[in-house]
Symmetry: C2
Subunit: 338 residues, 2 copies
């Protein structure tokens, strides 16, 4: 039996027929500038042929979209909760898009491109490539970034390089010279520029102290507990462990710490570990770490976005909130080599 129902045309069908991108279709149908007359005509014809209309909403429903690489991880979950709370009373409700894989990214851009009541976007610790960044810009709504870097977009964050420098200097001051890094993997990064900035801070501190960086101790894995476990497993296969380790998240640091202790490696006696974030686990597990104010970052970002939505002004603010080193029991003086 043949199914005679036609699925409704999507913006992608129109784009395909008109030979343009979906964002161009969106810009054109919204009447935005920067679309050539000839292209606009072609898009209008394709949309008419396919019976496609951009969804139009009237009334008071306005949304803010939050884009998060890993919505369930601590930094993201805290940001979501804070932003939801900050938006209350503003007339904007919060949409969530997880973008931890290609399908999630594509879904997010498709949905935002078609959704006419998204008044602004908050990007939490997620990097975009060039085409994605163009698609984001093409939405024509204010965007604010937390926990990452995106040239030309307003941003609220921390000084990642300086924070990593502080963590490394703490280990150096304790006499450590053999220092490794548990870094975010390039393919799995919560923000590639964040990763680069933290690595640069680590390298700066090492260089300033005249201590060489050993590349075999610079590992890159997922940003979660499992990523830390895998870093520790990798370290344990090496002929010699570093005596100190800077991890780019508390989850990674604790994954390392738990795995090492299970393998009989004393922390901090044999290896000192510094985390990054100061999440509630860090205090409980006595982890030395870099405290970053996630709630303040999220609240500032949401407030900044609301200002931009209300005023129509695309102010490119860029500010860092302070971090601090919290010294606990996972770091100590370097032990003499046997």
């Amino acid at each position: 039996m043949v199914d005679h129902r036609m699925p409704a045309a999507t913006i992608r069908d129109v784009a395909r027929m008109a030979g343009v991108s979906a964002t161009t279709v969106s810009r054109s149908l919204r009447g935005m500038s920067n679309v050539a007359i000839e292209t606009r005509d072609r898009i209008d014809r394709a949309a008419a042929d396919l019976g496609y209309r951009l969804p139009r909403l009237a009334g008071g429903v306005r949304l803010v979209a939050l884009v998060a690489r890993y919505p369930a991880q601590w930094f993201f979950a805290e940001s979501i909760a804070t932003i939801e709370r900050t938006l209350r009373g503003s007339g904007h409700d919060l949409l969530i898009f997880g973008v931890d894989d290609a399908e999630g990214r594509r879904n997010m851009f498709d949905r935002l491109t078609e959704n006419p009541v998204v008044a602004g976007v908050i990007v939490v610790a997620t990097s975009f490539d060039e085409p994605e960044r163009s698609a984001l810009d093409a939405l024509g709504v204010p965007v604010v970034v937390i926990g990452g870097y995106a040239p030309g977009l307003p941003r609220v964050g921390i000084d990642d390089a300086n924070a990593a420098r502080m963590a490394t200097q703490h280990l150096l001051a304790l006499g450590h010279r053999d220092i490794g890094v548990a870094s975010f993997a390039p393919g799995d990064t919560v923000g590639q520029d964040t990763t680069s900035a933290r690595l640069a801070g680590f390298q700066d501190a090492m260089q300033a102290a005249g201590v060489p960086v050993q590349s075999r101790w610079v590992l890159a894995r997922e940003s979660n507990i499992q990523g830390g476990v895998r870093c520790a497993e990798e370290l344990l296969t090496l002929p010699r462990l570093p005596t100190g380790l800077v991890a780019m998240s508390d989850e990674m640091a604790l994954g390392v710490l738990w795995t090492l202790r299970r393998a009989g490696v004393v922390v901090p006696g044999v290896m000192s570990i510094v985390g990054f974030d100061d999440n509630p686990m860090a205090a409980g597990c006595d982890l030395t770490t870099i405290h970053q104010p996630v709630t303040a970052q999220a609240r500032h970002a949401a407030e900044q976005l609301l200002v931009m939505i209300d005023s129509g002004v695309r102010e490119v603010v860029d500010f860092d909130l302070p971090v601090r080193l919290v010294v606990r029991g996972s770091t100590g003086p370097v032990a003499p080599r046997p």
Copy 2:
């Protein structure tokens, strides 16, 4: 200077003028049944006087609203991430409402009452009182509950009483008789029926073993790490500690464990602790716990909601997913009293 701009009328203004509830205004303006002709006329007049129109949306934007008591806590954050992923491709985007205080609850009901494109609601581990439940029903959209109980609504969860019984029986089998509970506080519960069911399971197991429950060891605090810390602080003021403790979340269990160890109380030597959830911290911290499948619950709930939205059928499914005891290093045989 006097500001002559009139703020736009809200559904609450119409309700006040017509002398009815906001949900009745919503039902009436949507043309739903169960509104008396006379009331409907009064509402129409009030709406016209105030220039109020229920927001109407056309096109493909459809939303699922997720209501979560604590969006940042593990169970909620995992549910949010899974439900967002499950909804991809369904044509529904995910709205988040945190309802950890009265303002959040009121905001959620106001927004959902006014929002015409919410096609369904998922309630994650959150209890409602009678008026709130009526407001939820009045939305006229399918609702599915995870991690809680709501008579007459479809529900996906675990058998909480049985899970708490398993945790208690584990301690009883290890010879413990002095067993306490770190329970969710009534005013802060993630779901009052969940708390009651778990307490009932604990009491059942104790009664079946002929062991009396000591009310001084049954403590109720927030469901997070801080709540566990406060339980431990309370226990430490008592003349005698229990030898075993069942905590209603891993966060609470770890808050207890870390605080006791800091106070020099050996776990499990002096006190054995069983958690609840099996979150990633539990494995890392070697916590014996009840494993519950949060991802499966969230996925089933989202799929069930989509079926109800698509079919229009309000099936009241109610099913429990299996839990299991995971024995780790935080529990051991009872030590003889000195």
